[in-house]
């Protein structure tokens, strides 16, 4: 699975970081940075929660 963040939409609300801190980190530029763009299968539920919680709907999860 591959994770993509649309930085045009992202406004640093950091809901993603609460849901999946292993994958998302909001830095000083108020944008979500990916700690990995291919998270392991074990994090799938957390990443799905992040997608759901992102208020700007900026995160996409792609199957490969």
């Amino acid at each position: 699975m591959k994770v993509i963040v649309d930085l045009q939409l992202c406004e640093g609300n950091a809901r993603c970081m609460e849901a999946a801190p292993e994958v998302f980190e909001v830095r000083d530029d108020d944008k979500a940075h990916l700690l990995t763009d291919h998270p392991p299968e074990s994090l799938r539920e957390k990443v799905k929660l992040a997608v759901r919680m992102c208020p700007r709907q900026a995160i996409t999860l792609k199957e490969e």
């Binding site: 939409l9 406004e11 640093g12 609300n13 759901r52 919680m53 208020p55 709907q57």
Partner: protein, 415 residues
Amino acid sequence: MEKQFSLDTIDVIGPDHYARNGYPHPEWTYLRKHKPVFWCEHPNTDPFWAITKHADIVHISRQPRLFLNGPRLLVFINEPGMDLAPTPPFRHLLDMDPPEHGEYRAIVSRKFTPRGVRELESQIDAIAKKVLDDVTGRDRCDFVLDISSKIPLAVIAELLGVPHEDWEQLFQWTNETIGGTDPEFQQGASVQETLDRARLGLFQYFTDMVAQRIKRPTGDITSIVANAKVNGQPLPQLELLSYFFLLVVAGNETTRNATTGGLLALIENPDQWERLRKNPSLIKSAVEEIVRWTTPVIQFARTAAQDTEIRGQKIKAGESVCLFYPSANRDEEVFGEPFKFDIGRNPNPHIAFGIGEHFCLGANLARLELEVIFRQLVERMEYAELAGPVERLRSSFVGGIKHMPIRMKLNPARN
């Protein structure tokens, strides 16, 4: 027990219904189950599709080019004396669509990130403390007039750089704008006159302030907006003034009603109040639950740019859909025991702040305000109970509590 309704007579939009009964949760629950995409006709507005499921509101909100804000911002019920074909009196973020919307939103969005608002925490703390100090020692108050309405107004006024002596005036215009359909705020004038008076007052006030801030910018939001450029040009007059108008109005009634409704929920659920008192670390999830529980914004609308489908129902280009946020936040498919007020609820994917392109710009600010207010209330309010009936606003846009008389014991601040 689920209540039964007839689709011919069910009412989810008439303002009188809201004044009398509060939110039509039994009706929404019925629609979610039997007719989640429901064609609504009302004599005083154009017909619309009532959308009541969480998933459908998310689906619509994340496609801002297919479902537009511009043509119809919300389902407004015309009243006697209303101008039936007004020229649009405002143009602000909520009326705009991509790509223009993003450019306007970016002007101030950094001020409203969690990091941006955290700088305000000590100011908000001081504002809330002062408001509570002013009623300490009394054994009764109107929680709305004396407490919940004062804090959000002061915060937004502070943010915009409005001097203290003008706060009362700002408060009145805000009340008239959102409560224009409620007789209490009309002072004998018609709905249209009330709305126009408030709008002109605000526009004139900010015209003067903008002129000052162009000459001498400070760090406040008024300076940022006054000196902003979109596509290399300063904002046109209508868009400029509407920006302030939106900031003043959007953050006031909403946060006030979350505060009032939140205290009411704690009064009605004493076990949850006790739980928060014993576990102050639950404050963040308590705030989320309060926002879900109260969902102060009842609806916004979108208009289909082309033919499409929702849940198998054909929607034609030009038809509008009305997004009922409080219904989504009680959706049985998303929330376990949706009608239970649970300050520990986690996860809590409510959409009281909307979602997607127009997601509430002030959400982080509102969360911080509520956190500060409820932290202080839990610390200082030894008890509170209703001392009379709760009076609701006659509005099917913002779910307002106009008055909430309480008996209380409020202790002085600890330090």
